[in-house]
Symmetry: C2
Subunit: 143 residues, 2 copies
DNA sequence: TGAAAGGTAACTTTTATTGTTACATAAGAT
DNA sequence: ATCTTATGTAACAATAAAAGTTACCTTTCA
């Protein structure tokens, strides 16, 4: 299964955007993450749908943040990207009538649900403005 | 990303094995999980390498548990299947020199590590014999 | 009206899992 | 002895999801 790197990539872009006081084009963003503009538009469109960014066409167009990074959490962006499964571990479903299969799947699902809940809770505690600040303080601390 | 359903499938097989007092063939196991014997051998071979099962060739051959289910945890089996990533979320690595990318990835990695630690801890607390017992008691409780 | 931007559909590439075929080897049954 | 029943394994095909690419559209402003 190929990894979904959209969250990492789009967070990278958003933090850059906050430091650039003008519309940023898909072309520029594509260079930030070494891909092409269509891939960028595809992901950014989801954030626009959730009102975290706006886009304008034509000359001097591009993308702008719709709110300060301090008002956006990792969870917000995660959700904006859609409700896809976060685990590579899947449950079998060949014989859903088998009580053993049901017991196995219930046990696995309970654990995965708990881990997911923890992860989303942590994501909800981190705002995007902390990503820059965290980095600077750890840089100063480590030399 | 396609899900890795080996853990769920092989747990299903192991619990069945405990209830069958003779060597179980790959053919029989393949029917349990609706696949073919080669797929079964591929996964079971990993469990044999980790000494959870044994296999014998020829007439009346097949697979046997090497220890009681009570002595095997979900974590044991998870580890026996190899150290593959459990998350579909990947980190970008286009520009590892960019401090913003590093800050984003560190934040994501910290959260994922924490969620993974919780998941593995829970897996370590569940022995395979509980899968049958859990199911029966929940069945009785729910009617 | 031409250049610069986003919008989007359709298709290809990539990557990991799963499935399949084929054949070798081992061990007990006849 | 040799046939049958098993596992062992290599090589290849099918499947599925993300990412990449191409092509063409519309919008906006100089």
């Amino acid at each position: 299964m190929r990894k979904d790197s959209r969250l990492s990539r789009v967070l990278h872009i958003l933090v850059h955007m906050a430091a650039i006081a003008r519309p940023v084009t898909s072309e520029e963003m594509a260079e930030m993450i070494s891909t092409n503009p269509v891939v960028v538009r595809r992901t950014m469109a989801l954030l626009r749908d959730a009102n975290y960014v706006t886009s304008t066409k034509g000359h001097h167009g591009g993308w702008l943040l719709a709110k300060p990074l301090a008002n956006i959490t990792l969870l917000d962006i995660h959700h904006a990207l859609g409700e896809s499964s976060i685990f590579t571990i899947g449950l079998s479903d060949e014989h859903s009538h088998c009580v053993i299969e049901q017991a196995v799947n219930t046990a696995l699902k309970d654990v995965m649900d708990e881990a997911k809940a923890l992860m989303l809770q942590r994501f909800g505690q981190i705002t995007l403005d902390q990503l820059g600040a965290d980095r600077i303080s750890s840089y100063l601390n480590k030399g």
